[in-house]
Symmetry: C2
DNA sequence: GTAGAATATGACCTTGTGGTCATATGACCA
DNA sequence: TGGTCATATGACCACAAGGTCATATTCTAC
């Protein structure tokens, strides 16, 4: 399981981890630090997040911070791992048997779990979003090294299987739509969070179903009548 | 005309502008500075772009920089204005008479001009992209103040008119699809630039038409047969 | 009680930032 | 030649960043 794809790979122990000192801490102090850090990284990108602010919010000395973590990146990668583990819990039973359902059912579950996760953990979702948006920066590659394979490949496979089964038109550009569907996942979540509600409610299902209906049928009035060019 | 929407409003003189000293400069020196700055802002976000690097790349003294511009923001807003003016040139005749064409033709022109602009001015496009991705930061609001109305409202109007004419299903959520279409514009451009080519060629049209076909008809095998829920 | 290890601390270091300013340069005019 | 004014310059400033380290404190075991 990774942050953005939906396979079942078990996360391996990462190379960089908080020091023992951190795990020896009483739990409330550990969560205090984690919460301060989550708040910081939800508000600022990795580069712009400030260790000074984190220690100030945590009420610990700066020296202590570096007794717990090797550096800022160490803390960040640890949090990313925590978030990935939390997101794991949102994967529905349907997604665990992807071969037994059609692609629209699967996509529905994926989008659903994505929105639900974002609604219940807005800060986690915001951090995930900021990571995706940091494509090109060094930290992005480092995170993706721990979170492969990419979501794109996952969606490509999904589309290939769906075409074989006759659920999806065979003339689409698989690579392009894998890219679009993966990106639109983030888009729909953003839209939901920004414009509709902060919590998981009935409207959420409506939003997803509207979107899936669009994915399948488009927005054209006369389906099938219009062709490009 | 603004950076992301397609109305015909004429850009007003901005409050913050380079000083006279800058415009008194010989043209080659001015473009030298602009090119250095464009390169910097294409590589780094506004916050992370460095005046030190810009002056180093320009070969001018730091003091000189502040003889030309009030501050970093002054330079940046000036460049944004230049970019918007350049993008203006890509608006096709079709877009200048939006009432005489159906929505898919209009969208085709919009996406086309977007990709064409990005292909021919990758650095400008990258700067535009970075701006859109800086939602929430102070500089974003400042830019949008000069570039209203937002693209969302523009697409909402486009959809409303299309529904009235029977080109688009009347049961869609206009706000949601305005948001999606606006965002997907950026997505398609990103996909094209990242995976297909750097320059404007035949493949480009193909990409756009594939996407528009999807917009109208969806990716479902049997159009109209499947409904959500 | 005391030795010794683990942890807590904040002053301090280097580096880079946006921005300033006194001074130097050079062009134009009397 | 001397005076004036726009421009050019880089040393300098205050600040914040990530990170270090000698020292102080607390905990554990004998």
């Amino acid at each position: 399981m990774t942050l953005w794809s939906y396979d079942h790979k078990v996360t391996q122990q990462d190379f960089l981890m908080p020091k023992d000192t951190f795990f020896n801490l009483p739990e409330d102090k550990r969560t205090l630090i984690c919460n301060a850090a989550i708040g910081e990284f939800a508000e600022y990108s990795f580069d712009q997040a400030s260790v000074n602010r984190i220690v100030a919010k945590s009420g610990i000395a700066k020296g202590s911070f570096y007794q717990y973590f090797e550096n800022k990146k160490d803390l960040f990668l640890y949090l990313v791992q925590l978030i990935a583990e939390e997101k794991e819990k949102y994967i529905s039973p349907v997604m665990r048997n992807p071969d037994q359902h059609d692609i629209f059912t699967l996509l529905r579950e994926i989008y659903l779990s994505g929105i639900q996760f974002a609604a219940e953990h807005p800060q986690y979702a915001e951090i995930s979003r900021k990571i995706l948006e940091s494509k090109g920066k060094p930290i992005y590659a480092e995170i993706m090294a721990d979170n492969l394979p990419s979501a794109y490949v996952f969606f490509e496979t999904l589309l290939e299987n769906a075409i074989e089964r006759g659920e999806v038109r065979a003339d689409i550009d698989i690579k392009m739509f894998a890219y679009l569907i993966a990106s639109m996942n983030a888009l729909v979540i953003e839209y939901y969070i920004e414009y509709l509600a902060q919590k998981y409610d009935g409207k959420m299902m409506e939003t997803i179903d509207k979107f899936l209906d669009f994915l399948k049928n488009g927005i054209g009035e006369q389906s099938g009548g219009w062709t490009s060019k």
